[in-house]
Symmetry: C2
Subunit: 143 residues, 2 copies
DNA sequence: TCATAATCAGATATATTTTTCTGTTAAAAT
DNA sequence: ATTTTAACAGAAAAATATATCTGATTATGA
């Protein structure tokens, strides 16, 4: 079970964080990333292809090809990746699954969850990859 | 897509909330509950059977049978239902899906998510069904 | 006691998500 | 030019989660 993001999204976030602590424009192929993150390379490919489509990641085919951040880390936020993969529905939907949960027809935890949801959104959209870099280095080795 | 709980869990929470605003020990069969919550009756049955096993809900077979809260609303919290259906892993796992995310090896959002996760746990464990009753009535009709 | 109505247990089916595969295309190096 | 390497696209397979069905059991009321 995932927490709030799909497995796809989790992997995408991890892969982008990985790229963000490397020298800018340095290229890594799917195998290298998959080994670092310990996930199948086909899955890495798939996700990074989606992020390539959405312009966050760039790619280069052929020998010495691979993936790299297409934008500066100072312009990318975690929420961008979430939006590209899972979309932003989580930040709209009722946590108890009630249909039509709203201010006028709130579920029993509507208000409290609203606060939490906003904080979660903040967590993902306040800091850029650049600002997260140091923390990211605690988790991902800068090889 | 669910927010953080599985569909099963969402339904279980809804069903228990439904029962909590009814007269104590009043019995409802799966069909009645399914009509109120607009979900298939087999699904309601399945979930309430699990909650019956875990002692939150009681059941009575045969004619005029059905389901009812096995405990007083003042002793049941939403977290009890979550625990019975999804378990409490969500409140342990890394939101970015990193393996071995911990204080000594935190992911980039470890601390912030920790706070949010604790608040979420609070949201589900501070108030009893009794205390939520009024809010629940805003969402579920007291037929 | 019999017919009926309901839960219950377990199997099955369906849907969704995740993962892998197959072949194609593009780029680079030899 | 040719070979090699890697992304890319889309299909297929596997795994997981969700939903449905079947038959058995149990309780009630007539």
């Amino acid at each position: 079970m995932t927490v709030i993001f799909s497995k796809k999204c989790e992997l995408a976030l991890q892969a982008v964080l990985f790229l963000s602590v490397k020298k800018e424009k340095k290229i890594f192929n799917a195998i290298e990333i998959s080994e670092e993150l310990k996930v199948p390379k086909e899955f890495v490919s798939k996700m990074l292809q989606i992020l390539t489509d959405s312009g966050i990641v760039g790619s280069k085919k052929g020998k010495n090809g691979g993936f790299y951040l297409a934008k500066k880390p100072s312009t990318i936020k975690l929420i961008d990746i979430v939006e590209a993969i899972d979309g932003l529905d989580v930040f709209q939907s009722c946590v108890l699954g009630f249909p039509g949960c709203s201010v006028s027809e709130p579920c029993p935890v509507h208000e409290k969850w609203g606060k939490l949801r906003d904080d979660a959104l903040k967590m993902l959209s306040e800091e850029t990859l650049e600002q997260l870099k140091e923390k990211t280095l605690n988790k991902i080795l800068d090889l």
